[in-house]
């Protein structure tokens, strides 16, 4: 199955969504998205880190130091209340658009 790169708007949504279940480091975010999408979606470094920087800048997540599973000091990203709100609003937007597209696809 061909690997599909992420559209940039969707990536922010997915990152926020996987962070909702708890803080993760950068690589784990990429892995989680990859695994949860049954290996269809693949997040490249070149897209992930700009998106993470943007999320930090917007204040949707904080970075804090922690220890990785390989026993290395790395930064974990944790969702902030503002991030949670942003996720909710993006999710509802997404659902609306998704349903609209679906209904067009079904009926046309």
């Amino acid at each position: 199955m061909p690997k599909i790169d992420m559209p940039s708007g969707a990536l922010t949504l997915l990152i926020l969504r996987v962070l909702r279940s708890g803080p993760l480091h950068g690589y784990a975010i990429a892995q989680r998205i990859h695994v949860l999408s049954s290996d269809v979606l693949r997040v490249e470094e070149g897209a992930l880190y700009p998106a993470l920087q943007k999320i930090l800048l917007k204040g949707w997540a904080n970075a804090e130091w922690g220890i990785s599973e390989t026993n290395r000091k790395v930064r974990f990203y944790r969702l902030t209340p503002a991030g949670r709100k942003q996720l909710d609003s993006e999710l509802s937007d997404y659902h609306r658009v998704h349903e609209a597209i679906q209904s067009v696809l079904r009926s046309a």
Binding site: E45, Y49, K58, G59, V74
Partner: protein, 849 residues
Amino acid sequence: MTELFRRVRYLLNRRRYDRELADDMEFHREMAGRDGRNFGSTLRLREEARDAWGWTWLDRFGQDLRYATRVLLKSPGFTLTAVLTLAAGIGVNVAAFGFFDLFALRPLPVREPETILRFQRRSPQNYSTHVSYPALEFYREHSRSLSAVFGLAQTRLALEGRDKLLRADFVTANYLAELGAPITLGNGFDPGSDAAASTQSVVVLSHSLWESQFASDPSIVGKTVRLNERSATVIGVAARTFGGLTSGSTDVWLPILSQPYYFRGSELLTTISEDSVMMWGRLRPGGTPELAEAEMKSLTAELRKKHPSAFWEREYLASEPGGYVMAAQGRQAKGNGSGEHHKQEIYTISALAGCLVMLILAVACGNLGNLLLARGVAREREIAIRVSVGAGRGRLLRQLFTESLLLAMLGSVAGLALGALTLRLLIRNTNAPAWLDPSPDWRMVAFALFIGFAAAMLFGFTPALQIARQRHRATALRQILIGGQVAGSCVLLIVAGLLVRALDRMLYSNPGFEYKQVVAIDPRLVAHGYAPENARSYLRALQDRLRAAPGVASVALATHPPLGRKATVFSSDTDGRLTNIHTNHVDSEFFETMRIPILRGRPFEAGDTQTAVVSESMARRLWPNGDELGKQLPMGATKYTVVGVAGNARAMALEDPDAVECYFLAGAADLPGASVLVRSSVAPESITAMIRTVSKATDPKVTPEIELLRTAFGRRLEGVQRSALAVTLLGGIALLLACLGIVGLVAYAVSQRTKEIGIRMALGAVPTQVLSLVLRQFSRPVVIGLLIGIAGAAALSQLLRRQLYGVSHLDPIAYSAAVAVFAIAAVLASLVPARRALRVNPLDALRHD
């Protein structure tokens, strides 16, 4: 808001955040490496991630700036040429802006200048710059919107032991205190003492008078000086920085209530029909000029009820900001119409000056643009390498433009220094008042930087575009740039030519009257409170004594002596064309004394009533058929019969070809304002002492102003002399810049075509053919530039028409002389480098690369 805050935090802690990002990505790599995946350049990925912070442009700008500095340091010759060229262009603009700043933008050095308003009388039909003292008093007592009303009467006083009259401001007692006048020695006037001041004969000296006349005597306070033959006690010396609200340098300040003490019989304080006082008011906190004007309007209506004849219908007081040099500028004037034409004139001249200095900048920019293009060729290799290692066009463009920007900023700094220096020299060398401080303020600095930036856009952007596209043979752009330079310098040269012609005309042409032998005596009888009857007997006595004196050829009277400071203009609209009629009330000997010929009809005769003599130009304009004699001339309410036509005498407005003159026989009412004109049969300097003695013998209380018309003429000349010099200098700079540009271009063209020239010479081309080969490509832009320049000058000089002393603004001599100067300079500038083409040795040229 918080996002902006975070952004700034990222900027300030860039190093730490960058390290953290690098760490994150390194870890990512480690983990991904385990899964056996490959990846791209870490550096680029990190840069892309950092883009999100929004500071990449700053990093790049820093990089570009460092690089630009290195590049400019490596070619000091180019850098120096460029900065000097720019400094000339920017410096001229800074100096011009500095003038504007000093006169219109910078507040006067007085307390809270922004709340001061200057008031002038207006009505739909009339205007007057001054008000009467009783009116001022009335406004002062009744105004609620102004916290203070103050004013002054400007006049001249004789100080014992000094030939030149002093400039004296008779001020209301609150004037010095209201303006927060700094006092070096002693005290100012007690602001509450307007009532008591009439008995006080006190005076405050200006700092410069104290220095020049009293040798900075530290114990001057309390001493007595003699002014107009009356004694006055010095109570203080103002600081050097204080000049009050009037333009020029005031020598002494005196309480206005003591004015009749120095001018015995003066009715300044009591007559409501004479406008002799300048009036200002200070707004209360929170007040607006509109509110003050509305209140003044209703007060004026009340005044008109009490004195119906002294105030006009629907009269009001117009206010303007009073705390600036501009507001104090201008002579006392009164007349019909709006009184705006004086201001209009100032604006036109300023606009013209602005255009001319902008042209210099444009020429400098064109020159620099060409220089940058030529440099682009030399940097061909560097640019090619940068493109091949991956520099995008946008990045390259930004880099090149940053270089221009750096040059421009250097030019701005140098230009600011140059401009400030020029301004300082100009201010020092004219008789500007001592408190006028020419050092640059923030406005001038901001202006210099702004002009520098605009210049960088002008000279840097297009060449950068061309170079970044690697299109070096940008001949079209070069030609446009050289054409622009030619046009700009051509305009400057033509305007300079016009001014030189005007100067020449003024010096050597006949102004229509003979001034060299004439002395004007202004006894200022109004200021001394002479009633018409007393004035008549004084003037008759003075004239009789003068006629009997040796060396006097003839004596005449005029309310407006030629070349004087006073003018009464009657604007008349004939067939949609505005004519400025300068009126003058004279006696029957005036035409003889001034040597103004009577062309038709007759001069005035004693006993004429309601007659007028008009100038030839006025007759031609009003009665083109030549049947003017006996016609009725309506002037306001009265009609006058034209009895004669005099030659044109541009006595009032030398510079204005639209001005015409109209003379009336001076009646009793005109006499208190009349001056005496004396034609001398010997050198006029030698009779001034005699005139002084005679006047003293006639009435010792009167201290007349005596001036040779030759001196007055010189004063008028100064202005045009200065502007001719300045514009010629500008034209010279522009010409030099344009010629340098041509030299560079032709030299470049020769070096580019060495091989072709060699081949042609080997095939038998003669020198003229070789030269035409090299020069042909420049002849077109130069000719087109010249044509545009001529058209531009014709359009611009329209604004100058009234200052040209009768020289047409399309004067063919000025135009052809300027074009000839330019053509000769351009030919020389192109021939010098083009000669190299003739010296090309065909053999060497063919072996060339």
